[in-house]
């Protein structure tokens, strides 16, 4: 029996050693993922993988979103999905995975409905994410909202695989020493009177000029990319989208684009970026804290004041930064009620869907409406009509992990040491009790 058990254990160890996971794949196969949050915000993500096929659950996990699931024999139930700006669901195991369905008094049943894109339409999945096989070209969708057994009333925004995973352009092999002929961003630097200007960071200092040699961008959309231009001077002291003059490390290639570069308050623009060769990418919106983001993604932003967007990519010992500014002009006064976003409190004429939204409380805080891919259309229209100005960047969705953490070796070793100490004391006391009982006998 003991020998068999030992053989079984050795076999398991061998299988484990041979079948070790290769880690996050950047392979030839790709699949799309669209997630729609309860406030109408949506996210589209292209996920690459090496394997011939993965499960829908793998796709969700590899998207980089924070996901809480309840594992079971039949698969995994998705309890919560979150990104740095949105989160919906239930904190399993502290509460039930379907906490908004089962608890009396919590209102209608809300949960993460799972969809698959079939023939250009969303189809409510009749299998769980762990049972769904994903191959190259597949698109999965998740939507938080009201639902029942046979389906949900909310669907994710309709996006094709090509929109989510555009054909990648090979990056330029050698940096061109000549100035790029890309048009200068058309964004005018006319500050709107009355609009609160965000404090520009040092990377957006207007007096700096971009070095012409730092032009390899690797994107096919030069009109919208905030790439270094040949403009030798910036005549005014206003903010102009430009790149930081720090020398670009060869390992990191990054682009940041903003379309359009000027909006009327209440409208949205698409901020998209693509970073290659970085270990981590961070986005800073206005004066809010930096948040980690995917290397290639996009964000639909609807600020009410001029806002600076700063993207920072970090490689081994290098880092690079791109910045862009979205100019916001005041809307023309209309006979109807005129919204005055920076200072006015929400009124009945300008309802704000999410009561917790603090748009008016923080005038300089940009608001995020929809996340999408660089080539995808702005999804605001396909989302609910009220999804224009919804949420502001909130805290990163990080569950409370108590006590020890694998990321904190000191705490880990202290915990293990204390456990060993308590266990040793217990064993000593137990052995003493046994010995004593034997002697008394």
């Amino acid at each position: 029996m003991g020998r068999r058990l030992a053989l079984l254990l050795i076999g398991l160890v061998l299988v484990a050693a041979l079948g070790r996971s290769p880690g996050r794949a950047q392979g030839p196969n790709r699949a799309g993922l669209v997630v729609r949050f309860g406030n109408g915000n949506a996210l589209a993500q292209c996920v690459a993988f090496d394997e011939q096929r993965i499960t829908g659950w793998d796709l969700l996990q590899r998207s980089g979103l924070s996901v809480i699931g309840e594992p079971g024999m039949m698969g995994v139930a998705v309890c919560k999905i979150g990104d740095p700006y949105n989160q919906d669901g239930c904190d399993f195991p502290r509460e039930d995975c379907f906490c908004q369905c089962l608890t009396p008094g919590s209102g209608p049943c809300r949960y993460w409905a799972y969809y698959q894109l079939v023939d250009g339409r969303w189809q409510y999945s009749n299998v769980g994410a762990a049972g769904r096989i994903i191959t190259h070209g597949a698109v999965d969708g998740w939507a938080w909202g009201l639902g029942e057994v046979n389906g949900s009333t909310v669907e994710p925004p309709l996006l094709s695989f090509e929109q989510i995973c555009p054909v990648e352009q090979p990056p330029t092999a050698t940096p061109s020493p000549t100035p790029t002929a890309s048009p200068t961003p058309t964004m005018t630097a006319t500050p709107t009177p009355g609009a609160a200007m965000p404090t520009p960071t040092s990377t957006a200092t207007p007096t700096r000029t971009a070095t012409p040699t730092l032009t390899p961008t690797g994107t096919a959309t030069p009109t919208s990319i905030v790439s270094p231009t040949t403009a030798p001077t910036v005549p005014t002291a206003t903010l102009v989208p430009t790149t930081t003059p720090t020398p670009t490390p060869a390992a990191i290639r990054m682009t940041l684009s903003l379309r359009p570069e000027r909006i009327v308050a209440g409208e949205c623009a698409t901020l998209s970026w693509q970073v290659v060769g970085a270990d981590a990418v961070f986005l800073q919106i206005g004066e809010a804290a930096e948040q980690p983001v995917s290397p290639s993604s996009a964000l639909s932003v609807c600020p009410v004041v001029e806002t600076l967007y700063s993207l920072r990519a970090v490689a081994a010992e290098q880092q690079d930064r791109r910045t862009a500014i979205l100019e916001v002009v005041e809307p023309e006064p209309t006979p109807a009620s005129t919204p005055t976003p920076p200072t006015a409190a929400p009124t009945e004429e300008t309802p704000i869907p999410t009561p917790t939204s603090a748009v008016t409380a923080t005038p300089t805080m940009p608001v995020v409406a929809v996340l999408t891919t660089p080539t995808a259309p702005v999804i605001t229209t396909s989302a609910t009509p009220t999804a224009g100005i919804i949420a502001r960047p909130g805290p990163v969705f990080t569950p409370a992990v108590p006590a020890a953490s694998t990321g904190n070796p000191a705490r880990l070793f202290v915990g293990l040491g204390l456990f060993a100490l308590v266990l040793a004391g217990l064993l000593a006391a137990g052995a003493w009790a046994l010995r004593r009982q034997r002697q008394l006998r």
Binding site: L12, V15, A16, G19, R20, S21, R53, I54, T55, W57, D58, Q61, S66, V67, I68, G69, P71, G72, M73, G75, V76, P93, R94, P104, G105, S106, A130, I133, T398, P399, A400, V401, P402, A403, A404, S405, T406, G407, L412, G415, L416, L418, F419, V422, L423, G425, L426, L427, A429, G430, W432, A433, L434, Q437, R438, L440, R441
Partner: protein, 363 residues
């Protein structure tokens, strides 16, 4: 007869052990609970081995040994099953082909740890119950029950003690067969053993019924007037209906949750009141009295401290007992000395256990 302590002390220890085993899934704390319960069990075996002649009390812990072995096997099975079927987690150890039904997909460290945590939780619960059952006899448990629950308690006790008694009978029969040089090679050879076991079980049931009859079980209670009978029956019916109404309101009318709870509470109080009143009509006498000693106070106070401490840690501040290995939580279980030491306090009955003594000394 209880081993070493007053039955109420053992009940307090059981409650503390259950609190420690049920309130956490942290393998560190569960390991400590298992180790403490195992030592108490070991001391209990030594204590009973000290008796000069074999008694039913001495046989009780022995009877639970196979159950503990079964629990260890089930624990191993739980770990393997969860590891192979729960394909969830960040730290992938093995990746099986997705096409394999049920087993296909990544096998993760988190699934292994969750299986281990489940197995330890199960083992801790079983060990705590094993110790309690080894220390406190069924008749002691019956004596602890309130009068109105006496009859239900008897039925429950008989049901609960069925498995250990059958295990003991099985072992005795096997031993008897071995002594007679009987070897089992085919399936048919097991037949005499099963027949004897069945006959033994029936015999035991008849003996039990006779002894219960001899002790006046089910005898008529004190005489009641028709008015009293009507009153109690009406009270019980109203109480039960109120309980049901409260449950229905709570389940199907969420807006009226509080009134539903109130109705439930009133119904429950009414039912308990009627039952207690009815229980007073049953007269019970005690031949042997239990003694409360200093060591009982020590064990009970320690158990209460463990219970209160464990409950407080789930309510106050950071939940020190929380552990869930799957993402987005940390797979490495945290360890804090306070819950660890509290769990270790479950060893107290082993430390203060008196030597084996004559029956009267056991109280």
């Amino acid at each position: 007869m209880t081993a070493g302590y007053h039955p109420l002390s053992w009940v307090a220890w059981l409650m503390a052990g259950l609190a420690a085993a049920l309130l956490t899934r942290n393998p560190f704390y569960l390991l400590i609970v298992c180790a403490a319960a195992a030592f108490v069990f070991g001391v209990l075996l030594q204590h009973h081995a000290g008796h000069t002649e074999p008694t039913a009390a001495a046989a009780r812990p022995q009877a639970w040994r196979p159950v503990v072995r079964l629990a260890l096997f089930l624990g191993l099975f739980t770990v393997l099953f969860n590891f192979l079927t729960s394909h969830y987690g960040r730290v992938v150890l093995v990746r099986l082909p997705v096409a394999w039904p049920l087993l296909g997909g990544p096998l993760t460290l988190e699934a292994l740890l969750y299986g281990l945590s489940t197995a330890l939780s199960f083992l801790a619960l079983l060990l705590v119950f094993t110790v309690f059952n080894g220390a406190v006899g069924p008749h002691d448990v019956l004596r602890l029950l309130p009068t109105f629950a006496y009859q239900a308690g008897v039925a429950l006790t008989i049901a609960v003690s069925f498995v250990p008694q059958t295990v003991v009978a099985w072992q005795e029969l096997q031993e008897a067969h071995r002594l007679r040089g009987y070897h089992r090679r085919r399936l048919r050879d097991w037949q005499p053993l099963f027949v004897a076991l069945l006959a033994n079980g029936l015999d035991r049931a008849v003996q039990l019924a006779e002894s219960m009859e001899a002790r006046g079980f089910g005898a008529a209670t004190a005489a009641l007037t028709p008015r009293q009978t009507r009153l109690w029956r009406t009270g019980a019916i109203i109480g039960l209906v109120a309980l049901l109404m409260g449950l229905l309101v709570r389940a199907f009318w969420p807006a009226a949750e509080r009134p539903g709870l109130l109705v439930m509470a009133v119904g429950a109080l009414l039912v308990v009141g009627v039952l207690m009143r009815q229980g007073r009509a049953i007269r019970r006498s005690r031949y042997r009295r239990w003694l409360w000693r200093r060591r009982d106070t020590a064990v009970t106070v320690t158990a209460l401290v463990v219970m209160a401490g464990m409950l407080a840690m789930t309510r106050v501040g950071e939940d020190l007992l929380f552990y869930y290995p799957y993402p987005p939580y940390d797979w490495m279980p945290p360890f804090h000395p306070v819950p660890g030491l509290l769990a270790a306090l479950l060893l107290m009955p082993a430390l203060l256990m008196p030597p084996a003594s004559p029956v009267l000394g056991e109280g």
